[in-house]
């Protein structure tokens, strides 16, 4: 088998750090777009964060959003063009801190969009500050003594929260720390786009991701941290899937 670049990715070299898993997730999204043959009818929305310049990497039409506003921008595109595919690609600060309001409300409206949510428990682009998903005790630039929940509050579990909303059709947390989980992650992303295709509502795929640079780890150590520290706090799995619920109910 010859591994080639997905068509839905451009020739541009990414600016991601060595060992960062953003690249893997970009590739998975692009492969799904290729396999569904929807590049020409897809509009992607970039966040502010490490993937701020993803408009140069994805080959579909791309719109850059203000920090946290990608779901609102996606809403504007989708409502005016209901037959196009619209996805956002957002980090944890973007989606679960400054953009929580837009996230929650696009979910509860059942906005027929797909959100790819990168959770790496840190603000990467600005140099490693505490994120809403930073784990208790985790040292960051702005929690130099470790995150103290009594001072800085507790991490947000996004899939759990959004799964309580009627408008959420699909919420799954995946990881890309092993080849098997990479394959599972791709299946989840495909599922999100399929749900959008069937006009079933809001889908979110949360991907536990690494930030070796700001975690101060080698890529291997970073993947190990996903397994030993993040997954216990952020369990993998499907939190909501109306397609199976419908089957179950019937």
């Amino acid at each position: 088998m010859i591994l080639t670049k997905p068509h839905a990715l451009t020739e541009a070299k990414t600016s991601f750090c060595p060992g960062c898993t953003h690249g893997i997730v970009h590739r998975l999204v692009a492969e799904v777009i290729d396999e569904m043959g929807i590049e020409g009818e897809t509009v992607g929305i970039c966040p502010v964060g490490c993937s701020v310049v993803s408009y140069d990497y994805f080959a579909c039409d791309m719109i850059e959003a203000a920090h946290g506003r990608a779901p609102a921008v996606a809403t504007g595109v989708k409502r005016s063009h209901p037959d196009k595919f619209v996805f956002t690609y957002q980090g944890d600060g973007d989606l679960a801190a400054i953009g929580t309001c837009e996230t929650v409300h696009s979910a509860t409206r059942g906005e027929n969009i797909t959100i790819i949510f990168i959770n790496n428990t840190i603000y990467g682009m600005t140099g490693g500050q505490m994120a809403p998903t930073t784990l208790p005790g985790q040292v960051t630039q702005t929690t130099p003594y470790g995150r103290d929940p009594l001072v800085a509050g507790y991490p947000v579990r996004v899939c759990e929260m959004l799964s309580t909303l009627m408008g959420t059709a699909y919420a799954e947390r995946v990881s890309v720390d092993t080849p098997a989980r990479v394959r599972a992650a791709k299946k989840a992303i495909r599922k999100g786009f399929e749900i959008q295709k069937n006009k079933q509502g809001f889908s979110i795929i949360e991907v536990l991701s690494t930030c070796p640079t700001n975690w101060g780890m080698t890529p291997d150590q970073a993947l190990e941290r996903v397994r030993t520290e993040m997954i216990p706090y952020y369990p993998l799995g499907v939190y909501k899937d109306i397609t199976t619920q419908e089957k179950g109910d019937a």
């Binding site: 020409g40 310049v53 719109i63 959003a65 609102a72 921008v73 595109v77 005016s80 595919f85 837009e102």
Partner: protein, 357 residues
């Protein structure tokens, strides 16, 4: 909604604006409730779905302007409306719209400020609209209607010019014009939106991917984009400025004000003429670009200017700049929702006449 297309109908300013927006092809309205602009959202919620178009009440002003950003980026005519505190919240989005060269319509039905202020009419967002609509170097088109008919006409004009110049446009009005009813006539047909090959709607595998973006990490690229935008602004400053004059030819005292203040000042000018004071009125219709030329020409013959605003004095800066400080420019303003009477302004004209004549 007016059934007969050219019938004269009685409507609130807010409603007339909304109706005109629908007629000129506005595809999406996104908004958030706030007094005194709520009639716009109410009207849109009733009529947009009937036309198969989008009305969506957003979770916040911030979300609303970003929905407008998304819709505008995908090439459709989109709008939002709010009132002063809400427009502060939209400032971020307006900066992004301008930085990404996206056309749209933003309506500000001004109320008193700062802070929560009040809900009665004001004109204290002139700076916000014309000088500081958000961070960064940019301007937006700003139109100031002065009647219910103009609320309709300039909504259409704002959409047209926004599309033409690829930039956001604002209707800057106030609670008085938004809430009052006057007869209004709609035209048989309005302009239709133009082709937007830059829009992000999917490339259909027929072209390179479009990118809507305001991020330039290389300093030279960012500067180049700013310079290009400002070159466009220079063209706009040549082509777009608009003002109405009333009895200015032989006027010694020129009263000036926009929107509601222009209406009231007109009565005062008539009263002054009746008492033998040669007064006139300049009403700027475009606030950005400001109609400098009209003022400069008037300054050749007039002895003094009186600027009237529902603010502590904001547009008065531009009047002074436009007249190049060759004539005294006196300011008279009321705030808090207090509307000056024609007589109040007449007294100001008399006092000024005594000083300079």
């Amino acid at each position: 909604m007016a059934n007969n297309k050219t019938e004269r109908v009685l409507m609130k300013g807010n409603e007339a604006l909304a109706e005109a927006a629908i007629r000129c092809g506005c595809q999406c309205y996104f908004g958030y409730p706030i007094t005194p602009q709520s009639e716009i959202a109410a009207y849109m919620s009733k009529h947009m779905p009937k036309e198969g178009r989008v009305f969506l009440q957003a979770e916040s002003e911030i979300a609303a302007i970003n929905m407008v950003y998304g819709a505008a980026a995908s090439g459709v005519r989109a709008m939002t409306s709010s009132s002063s505190p809400g427009v502060s919240l939209k400032s971020e989005g307006i900066s992004y719209l301008a930085g990404s060269d996206l056309p749209c319509l933003i309506v500000n039905v001004m109320r008193g400020g700062p802070g929560l202020g009040g809900i009665q009419p004001a004109q204290s967002d002139y700076y916000l609209a014309t000088k500081a609509g958000g961070h960064g170097d940019f301007s937006m088109l700003v139109f100031a209607p002065s009647s219910v008919q103009e609320m309709a006409d300039y909504a259409v004009k704002a959409f047209d010019e926004a599309d033409k110049w690829r930039m956001p446009a604002m209707i800057l009005t106030d609670g008085l014009l938004g809430q009052m009813m006057e007869p209004v006539t709609f035209k048989d047909s309005y302009s239709t939106p133009i082709e937007k090959p830059w829009a992000c709607v999917g490339h259909d595998n027929k072209r390179e991917h479009n990118i809507i973006n305001s991020l330039y990490l290389k300093p030279q690229e960012l500067e180049d984009s700013n310079i290009a935008r400002y070159k466009r602004y220079e063209l706009i400053k040549e082509q777009l400025p608009e003002a109405e004059t009333f009895m200015t030819e032989d006027a010694d005292i020129i009263v000036t004000g926009y929107g509601a203040c222009a209406r009231i000042s007109r009565n005062a000018v008539i009263a002054a003429r009746a008492e033998g004071i040669k007064a006139g009125l300049i009403r700027p219709i475009t606030l950005w670009p400001f109609p400098n030329k009209v003022y400069r020409e008037a300054a050749n013959t007039a002895k003094a200017f009186l600027d009237v605003e529902l603010s502590m004095g904001q547009m008065v800066d531009d009047v002074r700049l436009a007249t190049e400080c060759t004539r005294p420019v006196k300011f008279y303003g009321r705030t808090g929702g207090i509307i000056p009477t024609p007589n109040d302004i007449f007294e100001q004209i008399k006092a000024l006449a005594k000083e300079v004549l």
